[in-house]
């Protein structure tokens, strides 16, 4: 029997893993210089895909004796792979073609919302609740998710700051022309960063619906959690380690919103505002200190990388 605190800790782990993975993936993506305005659409798409894959895998594989946990985990990985493909697509076209990162990103955001509904809605309609396809409510599963997301964060940190590929990713983000002159293949480097980044966004989205909420609804796309992760990543300077406390605090604010509301007798909509106000307050706080310089965005972020000749 899980007590109140155990359950709170479990839900907190799921909230943290979701926010952290999405913000981490987004950070890796943007550190390569590609502006990521499709984040909210891709996040919602990943929630729909996770539900679809999980339902399909459960109904087809569990009859063959495959463990339901394996089916759900596979669904998360598959979701990550599909979103990774989107990341590769974005990295490719935004590096090879002289086109607006912002316009492509926002277009893809709408497409992500629409496709997310296409993916998730039939499952919702057929089964009602998706809890049967979700991860088991088990402290081991929640702890493992927490550990895996932290491990991914540490690995990303090591990769970014201690390896050649990390240096190349950051160089592409700062000045892709200079990086190219030094021998870095910009589009290949961005393919790696954006593919890996969006893999993590996809897995984060699947955890949101299959572990944290254990619920999927067509209206989830108006929640803005993708934008929320975007802001957290920005506030933490897209740094994998600094993101950890940020994701923890804001995950808690989102998760315990209802408790805060009940404890302080706040109206539901005022309580809903708290995480968003806190995010702006945080940005204002660090904007007024020396931390601002540390957290500055890559200088080449969102700028069109125009180069006459490219070898593909």
């Amino acid at each position: 029997m899980i007590d109140f605190y155990g359950e709170a800790l479990m839900r907190m782990s799921a909230a943290f893993a979701t926010i952290y993975l999405v913000a981490l993936g987004h950070s890796l993506f943007e550190l390569s210089g590609v502006l990521d305005l499709s984040i909210d659409g891709v996040f919602f798409l990943s929630t729909g895909l996770a539900v679809l894959f999980s339902a399909q895998l459960h109904t087809s594989l569990t009859t063959l004796g495959v463990d339901p946990l394996i089916c759900t985990t596979l669904a998360s990985v598959l979701t990550g792979l599909v979103t990774a493909l989107i990341g590769l697509f974005l990295a490719f076209i935004l590096t090879v073609l002289p086109i607006s990162h912002g316009a492509v990103g926002l277009s893809l955001m709408f497409l992500g919302y629409g496709l997310g509904i296409y993916a998730g809605y039939p499952v919702r309609l057929k089964y009602g609740s998706i809890a049967q396809f979700a991860y088991p409510e088990n402290i081991v599963v929640y702890s493992l998710t927490l550990l895996v997301s932290l491990a991914l964060g540490l690995t990303t940190y090591r990769m970014l700051y201690s390896t050649a590929i990390g240096a190349m990713i950051r160089a592409c983000g700062e000045d892709p022309h200079a990086a190219s002159a030094l021998g870095v293949v910009v589009y290949r480097t961005r393919l790696i960063a954006c593919g890996l980044g969006y893999f993590m966004v996809g897995v984060g989205g699947s955890i949101f619906t299959l572990l944290w909420l254990r619920y999927w609804d067509i209206r989830s796309y108006v929640l803005g959690y993708g934008w929320f992760a975007y802001t957290i990543a920005l506030a933490a300077g897209r740094h994998p380690l600094i993101l950890i406390p940020f994701a923890g605090v804001f995950g808690a604010l989102l998760e315990f919103n209802i408790s805060i509301q009940a404890t302080y007798g706040l109206p539901v909509d005022l309580a809903g505002m708290i995480p968003f106000i806190a995010a702006i307050a945080l940005m204002t706080l660090y904007g007024s200190t020396k931390l601002k310089r540390l957290f500055e965005p890559p200088r080449g972020l969102g700028k069109i990388y125009y180069k006459e000749e490219r070898t593909i």
């Binding site: 316009a103 492509v104 926002l106 497409l111 109206p267 702006i280 904007g287 180069k307 000749e309």
Partner: protein, 374 residues
Amino acid sequence: MKITILKRKKELKYGAVIASLLSILFGITIYLVIIGLFGVNLVEAINILGKSFISPTIMKDFLIIYVMGCGLLLSFKASLWNIGGEGQFYIAMIPGIVITLLLFNPETSSTTVPAFIVVLLVIITGSVVGAVWAAVAGTLKAFMNIDEVPVTLILNYIAYYLVNHLVSGPLKGKKTYGYLRTDEIPGIYRLNIILPITRTGNQFEEAVYSFLTQVSYYIALLVTAIAISVFTWWLFKYTKLGLYIKIMGSNPEYLYATGVNTKMLTLLIMALSGSIIGLSGSLYLLVEWGRIPYGIQSHTPGYGYLAILASWLSMLDHRLLPVSAYLVAGLRNTGLSIKIAGLGDTEQTLIILGSVLLGYSITRFIADYEVKIR
């Protein structure tokens, strides 16, 4: 494989038009492939798509997206990315409700203030509130160099929650048949001219009449769109501020070096952008909604984001903005028509917007560049 992309030395004859048409066709193909995969009847969908772009119902969306697009264009030209049109649009509706229902409601008080003064007050306060909401991000950007993109984005959600809170609390309606929303604003403050329904039996005559019906119903939006259009043209063509905005977008250091207070300029541009969006929000309340429903994020057509797209697709050229606003409005209209025809649901609007605009954004560059593959 070698891809060579060269900037065109000579402008392509009718390049912008050809590129735009090809891009739209490419985008529509993406859309049709997607919905075809999900089993939607493509012939019916194409039919609806064609009709939606010439349907009179496109009027409202076009006008709102155009006005908001002008507001956003002002800030975008200065490289100030105001992504907060959604929030500025809805928060600007609040004074409209307070003024028409609480302060000057002829049904509950013996107000002697003429209706046009009240309407003017609604529009002015709506603009001011939109300006103030945008100025929050402008202040943080100007004085603390905090990125305006996440701030304006987050302010959208804060605006949603704040409007919801007010609608379910202090502004909650009494005559709403159990629905959670504000009361409807008194008819004397509504800005529509409603023409009587006429059936002549002639299809062409009825189409023209239907168009005129839409024009008269949205006459206030039309007049505003023309006024804002002239204002934008005048601002960029004849004023110092317009010149500053353009230089701010390309070389802000130059402005600073010439003694211009770039901080105050940043604040001013954001506020001006927000005020035009606020104006459109208060007009939308007076012309279309008449009340504010609860759960604004579920009711929003997403004009704030659609106007961003229209603005970007115009390449930040206010002369092209009517075309891009029409394109975006047409796509939204198609999605709604497909939903009405029973070929899909909410996702149709989102997918058609996303796929066509994605196709457009990707291929639009061929107007300015030539591509050689070896």
